[in-house]
């Protein structure tokens, strides 16, 4: 049976609600950055589970979490907390992420540079304009205007 009105036919046989695929795709796109990290960690965990002849159930028991939680982690869809990563590292005797102390030092130096640049800018402004700072009250005056930080 051919139909002239394909839209009419579709209304007859296709339910009103759409697939949830579009929501899934948008979620994947919005969370792409951390999902990539979660996927890399998931792969490492699965490799280690095999190396140790573990099962996901054994891992769940060691970590005292539900097997469903482990299942979500190994799919690479879990936004892992530092606590969970640390528990996984301990249970599997493996390093999953690497945070170097040198980086922290670097950040501190960078922060110091930023602070010192900001201070210099403020000093220039103080000299060249009518900006007044009241650090104890977190207040900045630009002429008659008061800004509260």
């Amino acid at each position: 049976m051919a139909v002239n009105d394909i839209e009419g036919k579709l209304k007859q046989i296709v339910p009103k609600e759409s697939s949830k695929w579009i929501e899934d795709a948008e979620w994947r796109s919005e969370n792409e950055v951390w999902l990539k990290k979660s996927q890399t960690i998931a792969f490492k965990i699965l490799e280690r589970i095999d190396e140790l002849n573990f099962t996901q159930k054994i891992l769940a028991d060691i970590m005292k979490v539900s097997p469903q939680h482990i299942s979500k982690i190994v799919k690479g869809k879990e936004n892992l907390t530092l606590e969970t990563i640390s528990k996984l590292e301990k249970a599997l005797d493996i390093k999953l992420i690497n945070i170097e102390n040198n980086n922290t030092t670097h950040i501190n130096i960078q922060q110091s540079i930023n602070i010192s640049i900001q201070q210099s800018v403020i000093n220039i402004y103080k000299e060249k304009s009518n900006i007044q700072l009241n650090a104890s009250k977190n207040e900045i005056f630009i002429g008659p205007i008061k800004l509260i930080a």
Binding site: M1, A2, V3, N4, I6, E7, K9, L10, I13, V14, P15, E17, S18, S19, K20, W21, I22, D24, A25, R28, S29, E32, Q39, A42, F43, L46, S71, V74, K75, G76, K77
Partner: protein, 186 residues
């Protein structure tokens, strides 16, 4: 296995089949699989001999998983973009992505079996669909094609079966576009 219903993926142009063996539609299901590290790792371990064959060189399982997730994202965005463009301009229709299943088929047929492939030249991702009109397709499933022909792999043989099943269903319910007859060759 039988068709339970069709569901809208993109309004007015892309539908997907729901079969009675799953609760979700096929397009959503394949995209879930192609973003699931556990599923992909198991799949590539099982298919390691094909993965290390002449065509793809020597790709590790971890690299195959990474490539698949990246290509799946590109493919779903490409399909979405083309379907929307195709509503306005027929030259950008889904027909430009979904090609006849058989590489030696150069004509358009009623309820034609088609495939869309990943954007990269060597992509192994395939989305299978039945053509209704230039910008209307019904997705029947999808798969990772590591063999030269679909018949060499069990999971792709299932996809052939699903294409046939859906084609029969669409004939039975009479879903076709009479305006499309001008494009058809019998």
């Amino acid at each position: 296995m039988k068709v339970t219903t069709l569901i809208k993926i993109i309004e007015e142009c892309l539908l997907s089949v729901v079969y009675d063996d799953k609760e979700i539609d096929e397009f959503r299901y394949i995209m879930e699989c192609w973003n699931d590290v556990e599923y992909l790792r198991s799949f590539y371990i099982e298919q390691k001999s094909h993965l290390n064959g002449a065509f793809y060189g020597n790709i590790s399982v971890s690299e195959a998983v990474r490539i698949t997730i990246e290509e799946a994202k590109e493919l779903e965005e490409y399909i979405k973009r083309t379907a929307k463009k195709g509503k306005l301009d027929i030259s950008y229709s889904l027909q430009s992505i979904f090609k006849p299943l058989n590489n030696n088929e150069y004509t358009i047929n009623l309820h034609q079996k088609t495939k869309a492939r990943g954007i990269n030249k060597k992509s192994w991702l395939r989305v299978y669909a039945i053509r209704i009109a230039p910008n209307m397709f019904v997705i029947t499933g999808g798969g990772i094609k590591l063999t030269k022909t679909m018949n060499e792999s069990e999971h792709l043989k299932r996809e052939l079966h699903k294409l046939e099943l859906t084609k029969s269903y669409l004939k039975e319910v009479g879903l076709l576009d009479e305006n499309d007859y001008q494009f058809l060759e019998f």
